[in-house]
């Protein structure tokens, strides 16, 4: 179960885990001494010129990044999981770290990555009837055009 790893800028170990072994790797790491899952977030790489991925890792559009922290060894590690655009699913870490519930809901809400096995996968930040996932690259910023000549409607 070895997968390519590299060293992050902060000296932490970054490993590129295939989607299927994501949950088992995190379970192994947790038993290995990583007591806290600090952060789970999703990144949309649409239109990225080219990120350095070790060979054998097929670049997909989405990437779920999970940060683990070992308090005993004062060490961090990062897992980057490639998630294809067509089948945006990843296993949820709720059973291992209950603290990731809100983070995964935010990743689902803003980026649209579905976490299987999550007890309550609903929107967390956007209003209930909001359609679309705002942080995706193809989602417009929603800028109201600002014309300084005459302000649009009742300013």
């Amino acid at each position: 179960m070895t997968f390519p790893t590299s060293v992050g800028l902060g000296g932490e170990r970054v490993s590129f885990v295939p989607r299927e072994q994501y949950k088992d790797t995190v379970r192994a790491l947790r038993d290995d001494g990583y007591e806290m899952c600090v952060d789970v977030c999703a990144v949309d790489y649409l239109g990225h010129p080219g990120r350095e991925l070790p060979d054998g890792v097929a670049p997909e559009r989405f990437e779920v990044v999970c940060n683990l922290l070992s308090l005993s060894r004062k060490e961090r590690t990062r897992l980057r999981v490639q998630v294809p655009e067509t089948d945006c699913r990843v296993a949820s870490l709720f059973e291992l770290y209950p603290g990731t519930e809100a983070m995964e809901r935010e990743a689902f809400d803003l980026m649209g990555v579905v976490f299987e096995g999550h007890p309550d996968l609903t929107r967390i930040l956007m209003p209930e009837d909001w359609e679309g996932h705002p942080l995706r690259k193809d989602y417009g910023v929603g800028r109201v055009p600002v014309q300084f000549k005459e302000a649009p409607g009742p300013r």
Partner: protein, 190 residues
């Protein structure tokens, strides 16, 4: 027959001034603290920039007992209906100060999440600039509002309000709460 039909003449002149003076002197703000401007509003209520010199030291928390709503902070799309609801539940006469550029015009966050200007939801009387406006700016805004109250009408809002013109006292809906509310809910911006 009600107060607004009183003829403006010598006899009633003193009465209106008295009512306006009383209202100006004890405006109680509803603490509608949203973001960074709320911290500056607290600092204005604190000891150094004492708000109670204007009779405003009590920040009423329920809209039923408040006259002035200071929208302090950025109003998100999810918060817009709540803001409208709290505004409707305030007792007349009521005024609105839009504190900070985020409330006045969306500020630096010109994106999908922020309502670009709280005057799309509630009629605003005073816009206080600044991000966050320093306590002096907020107090200057409050003084301008006091001036507006002292020279304004008793039962009608100022005429030049952009949203839903106030048609004298006869409209079924109270002149303080305009009928049409345009809670802007941008779906998926193209």
């Amino acid at each position: 027959m009600a107060l607004e039909d009183l003829p403006h003449n010598f006899l009633t002149g003193r009465l209106e001034d008295l009512v306006r003076w009383a209202r100006r002197a004890s405006v109680w703000p509803a603490s509608f603290g949203l973001a960074c401007c709320a911290i500056e509003m607290m600092a204005t209520g604190g000891a150094d920039f004492d708000l109670s010199r204007y009779g405003m030291e009590v920040f009423r928390n329920s809209p039923r007992q408040a006259d002035l709503m200071i929208v302090a902070g950025r109003v998100s799309q999810k918060m817009a209906p709540v803001l409208r609801q709290v505004y409707d539940q305030m007792m007349e006469p009521k005024w609105v100060i839009s504190m900070g550029v985020c409330a006045s015009s969306g500020g630096m966050f010109n994106n999908y999440a922020i309502v670009q200007g709280v005057d799309q939801i509630v009629p605003v009387d005073i816009y206080a600039p600044g991000c966050p406006p320093s306590p002096e700016t907020l107090m200057h805004a409050i003084l301008t509002l006091h001036e507006q109250i002292r020279t304004g009408h008793i039962l009608r809002r100022r005429d030049n309000e952009p949203l839903g013109e106030a048609t004298g006292g006869d409209s079924v809906q109270s002149p303080w709460t305009p009928e049409i509310t345009t809670t802007v809910r941008l779906g998926t911006p193209k």
